[in-house]
Symmetry: C2
Subunit: 246 residues, 2 copies
């Protein structure tokens, strides 16, 4: 097994970092990795914001309701971006807009591919990272905070740095239930099928709540069917940003 | 520079492969990489279908209007998936559904992270890959072909295998125009800013049209503002699959 795959199989969410800056030449290399990431149709419907302002990090920590974010050494925000190409159209005297669900989907996908590629680069040099979907707990506040123009939408964040954390590998359900051949496969009784996984999950300690085991997976699903407050606004923020969702 | 980052900086879209199968033990390793990929909230809102049936590959090639897909050694389709967890709710006597824009977004993001992670693994062993967004050129046909249940949605495909292709690195716009610090940055005249990039892009030969240079980037943006036929249906297929887009 090569070192890339070794790091991938050992992927853990790292939330706590040494107070040691990531060297700028490393940041430059990571930006190149983001630049070389595949992009749908070559249209580069994604953009990135590096948060270096400590005050902004604190505000993003408040939006995500995760206080450790205020202290992360590096924080990149990944955006779906139809703005830049729409400006190019406008300059060409063309009044159409890159505002469709198709464009938004391409932008979300491009942004996500870049975020994973960055994470692989970060982990390859022995640093650690955390994906931050919780930046969308108040998407409108984030849009305002970063002065995002119409036809852009935040997708996720990645925080990274030198590791000061030692979480367990988080158990995942057996791939039998997620990976199929040629056609989708359904199961009659997921509770029964996932009974072993439910047991394993109860032995896992999350670093967000160090002294508390997680619930069984199937119980978590029920608990998390109630969305975090604010997340019911995501579609309305997409619309306010100018995307047509139909 | 380590081998992971070296591969990332040399990423090229590979469309043509040796007619040599990918060993099953390698596939098993790649499935583990997908399994270990980060997932939003731990909820695993994504699923994967490996296409081994040649007839299905041909039909997907027709959907994507890219004939080479019929002959790729390996083809994985990445899905956003709210179905499985909705079944878990149902079994628990809870009639709520994972059908929100929030869930769809988490699923698209999870699926995309897995697709990039797979691609990094593939490239780390010297094989090549292509991301296939064009599988959504007729999303409803793909949903039918793979018997996708409600609350699942195809996001993208990845084809991979041993490389029999030698494309150029595709030029990308300077990161000055995509990567910002603390706040979004706009430019007054993208045509002027991107003039050098436009020139470089004209020297690039795409392997889809081997004897034909691409247009300048800003001209491509105008050309591609007219979506490929079928892609205007993506939102309606999402709705038909049961997702609420508002």
């Amino acid at each position: 097994m090569n070192s890339t795959i070794k790091h991938q199989l050992e992927h853990r969410t790292i939330r706590f970092f040494e107070q040691k800056p990531v060297p700028e030449e490393m940041i430059e290399l990571f930006i190149q990795v983001i630049q070389r990431t595949a992009t749908s149709n070559g249209l580069q419907f994604s953009s990135f914001i590096r948060i270096t302002d400590h005050n902004l990090k604190q505000k993003i920590a408040e939006i995500a309701k995760q206080s450790y974010i205020a202290d992360v050494p590096e924080l990149f925000i990944f955006l779906a971006d139809g703005y830049r190409n729409t400006q190019i159209l406008k300059e060409s005297g063309d009044n159409r807009k890159f505002n469709s669900m198709d464009v938004l989907l391409q932008g979300i996908t491009d942004a996500s591919l870049s975020a994973q590629n960055l994470t692989n680069a970060v982990e390859s040099v022995g640093m650690g990272a955390v994906f931050l979907g919780a930046i969308l707990n108040d998407a409108q506040a984030l849009v305002d905070l970063l002065a995002l123009p119409k036809l852009t939408m935040p997708v996720l964040g990645v925080a990274f740095g030198y590791i000061n954390d030692d979480p367990q590998l988080k158990p995942r359900m057996p791939m039998k239930y997620r990976f199929y051949e040629n056609t989708y496969r359904t199961f009659d009784d997921y509770h029964q099928e996932l009974a072993d996984y439910d047991q394993v999950m109860k032995t896992y300690y999350d670093t967000r709540n160090r002294n508390q085991c997680l619930a069984a997976f199937t119980d978590q699903v029920v608990l998390k069917a109630t969305p975090v407050a604010g997340r019911e606004n995501i579609a309305s923020v997409m619309k306010k940003q100018g995307f047509l969702l139909d």
